[in-house]
Symmetry: C2
Subunit: 244 residues, 2 copies
DNA sequence: CGTTTTCTTGAGGTAGGTCAAGCGCTGTGG
DNA sequence: CCACAGCGCTTGACCTACCTCAAGAAAACG
């Protein structure tokens, strides 16, 4: 195998947590079908869909969203390269939310049929995939804490910290800099704020010298202060070694 | 087996979704250890714990919570009889949150060792247990939408609708009435509101005739109106048949 | 280079927070 | 049987974080 298969970021993420055997690597590599490009702004999955495959993000940024009857939109998770956006659809067939590309993405399907066969033949890999969805839930809980208990600045700081660490873990960011192709409207839909207020808070963090954000590119100038403001503790991301 | 084993509510919940064989029922029934009583207000699990078992709720009400450095508390899920409160600790060893009894509870442990063996021997049961954690995540997402997009009255209405349907599905409630042993402070910690504001909103719903709430006992007088106010759509609870 | 999208800033409004006090249970001990 | 302590509920007065509406500036894009 001369070129790195698309699944590599996932295997690396898993290998940081536990030992993955060559056979398991092979099984994972065989899961993915033909890649597909999705333009920024397009939906990868619509709410209510019943896909017969789960979508894996090879590269790009996308987000899970729910639309409300009153015209609102809540983003419930940001997904980056190496994430499945709807692994849970293997078990919960009908999508309770949609997934939208925030930037141009490359994605690949993993047929539910193949995933189900994998759960029959590879219990350890099954647990590792299960862990992926468990970490999703932990991130959801952390966002609940942010929305329920933190003010706007604190929420924004927390989000930046989380995204940086996840991107760094995926080898997509380093040196406290990363590309973040989201508009302030998107950000508001994550944080439960209006675009106007996101802007004001962002301007404030810039003035305080905590971060720069220009042309979709973020630089964290003072990680300590940002993490303190966001009350950020990375334990919930489960990035350390701990075999399942 | 003359008396119903403690695991019955879980098996019933699963059987509503998929066929559970007698062998699988047996395997589930063998999971649970000796029951334990937990008094209202006591923690079942502390944040940061690394339990070697997952806790199953036989009866009672408990809630997952996160404390913030500023003295706040966010409840991220309500668990009732038939739920595991920390099934995910099988995979994510260190608890990212705690669990507290809201009312007196009876709980039973399922050793991680036994759960792990179950994942080796029963792929279908494994998928059903995985589904339990996936539904937890779907509930988290719904709460994110509530906290991010809905106002106080709407959030409260949504919570009541969700709790009633989950209790009804577990055979613990019927006829739009149920016991809800939570204080208004607890409710505020779920909804991201102060106790004072919870009270005002609650008084309002009572005045509008949508529900009664006396001595920990809730009666929904107008389900349609309450569901409309809460923008409640039960699909995310995944209560219907849909084999995994 | 014109059009559209995104960002920025101001002025004024409101949902929900804070602080404070009184009320009504329920349980407990004299 | 009563006193009273403790907890949870209720209400009022005032405050503030964030929202709404609006308009211009600056990027991004074809």
């Amino acid at each position: 195998m001369s070129q790195a298969p698309m699944i590599t970021p996932l295997i690396e993420k898993m290998a940081r947590r536990d030992v993955i055997t060559p056979i398991e690597r092979e099984a994972l590599a065989n899961l993915l079908g033909a890649t597909r490009r999705v333009a920024a702004g397009k939906a990868l999955v619509e709410p209510g869909d019943r896909p017969n495959f789960s979508t894996f993000v090879v590269s790009g940024f996308c987000a899970r969203f729910t639309l409300t009857p009153t015209g609102g939109r809540q983003l419930t998770q940001i997904n980056i390269g190496g994430d499945f956006v709807d692994l849970h659809s293997l078990l919960m067939r009908q999508m309770d939310h949609g997934v939208v590309a925030l930037a141009d993405c490359v994605v690949a399907p993993a047929a539910h049929e193949d995933l189900r066969r994998l759960t029959q033949q590879h219990p350890h890999l099954t647990r590792l995939l299960w862990l992926e969805t468990v970490v999703d839930a932990a991130i959801h809980r952390q966002w609940l804490v942010a929305l329920g208990q933190q003010n706007a600045a604190s929420r924004l700081a927390h989000l930046i910290c989380e995204l940086y660490l996840r991107l760094e873990a995926g080898g997509i960011a380093s040196d406290l800099r990363f590309s973040l192709p989201m508009t302030q409207v998107d950000l508001g839909d994550v944080l439960g704020l209006t675009q106007v207020h996101v802007n004001r808070v962002l301007m404030d963090l810039r003035r305080q010298g905590l971060l720069d954000w220009k042309a979709g590119h973020v630089t964290v100038n003072d990680w300590e202060a940002l993490a303190r403001l966001g009350q950020f503790d990375p334990a919930y991301l489960r990035l350390q070694n701990d075999p399942v």
